[in-house]
């Protein structure tokens, strides 16, 4: 799950070295936290949150396969 979000985010931003992904777990629930450089926020959120929502849809598949429930938080720098 972490690798999936890291890969997508690094592919989209101008500063891949500043992409940071952490996961917090509570049982079956996993919160994936994504941090990127400030000017890259728009690139990982997208117009009307389209990129973020697409990442969430793919993350859901990855999580299901591990029998987990995942959510994605994009954290403002």
């Amino acid at each position: 799950m972490k690798a999936l979000i890291e890969y997508i985010a690094r592919s989209l931003v101008e500063h891949p070295e500043q992409v940071e992904v952490r996961t917090r777990r509570a049982g079956r629930r996993v919160v994936v936290e994504l941090r990127v450089a400030k000017p890259d926020m728009g690139r990982v959120v997208g117009r009307h949150g389209r990129v973020a929502n697409a990442m969430r849809a793919l993350l859901r598949v990855a999580a299901e396969r591990e029998n987990k429930l995942a959510s994605l938080d994009i954290i403002e720098p």
């Binding site: 999936l4 990129v51 929502n53 969430r56 849809a57 793919l58 990855a62």
Partner: protein
Amino acid sequence: MEERTTLEVIAPTVEQAIADGLAQLGLPADAVTVEVLDSGSKGFLGLGGRQVRIRLTVKAPSVETPPVSEAEAEEVVEQTEGEKEEDERVLHLAREVVTTLLKYMHVDARVFVSFGEASGNHPAPVRVDIRGQDLGVLIGRRSETINALQFIVGVIVSKEVGRKVLVLVDVEGYRERREQQLRRLARRMAEQAVKTGRRQILEPMPPNERRIIHLELRDHPHVRTVSIGEEPHRKVTIEPKESHP
């Protein structure tokens, strides 16, 4: 069937990859040369192994290959080396991106890439065909997952190439099946609208699916279609043209 010069295939074994590739190209084994790009690895207990990756290159047209029309032959000749390299780079990249995403999503599947047909001023879209067992998980409720995958791949490939590249992702022929299903639904609901004289409201659908409904009923003499609501809950309504108060 469109002309293609090379095709990259991923499969568990070299034999499987060659067989898949030939089936996709519709060519006999002696019409292509095979290059093994990655011979794969076993992985631990069948997990985490890398699949085999091969490239099939179609040999120069010979008597065995299907005849190419004059116009098509002309076009192939006119494509410069640089353009050909660029095309291959785009295809390779698209396949790479999809393969990587599927790996991280823990989905085991084979990925085929090719160029679709160019329409008007638009360059040919990249078609990504994902094949394998139990891939319903890649389609998702209301096509949400397949559309998310298509969108993300399009954005990544476009960024990498430095221009807008249209990427179309299909999973086991789903798009075609869904289109037929939507067109049937459109006709049925139009009939219902005419019969009852009342507006019919369809389920929420993504833009590409709403478009199929609008197009199917565009020339219908007795109904008109209007989309209402906000994404992602936007839905098509079908209403009778003449209102009888």
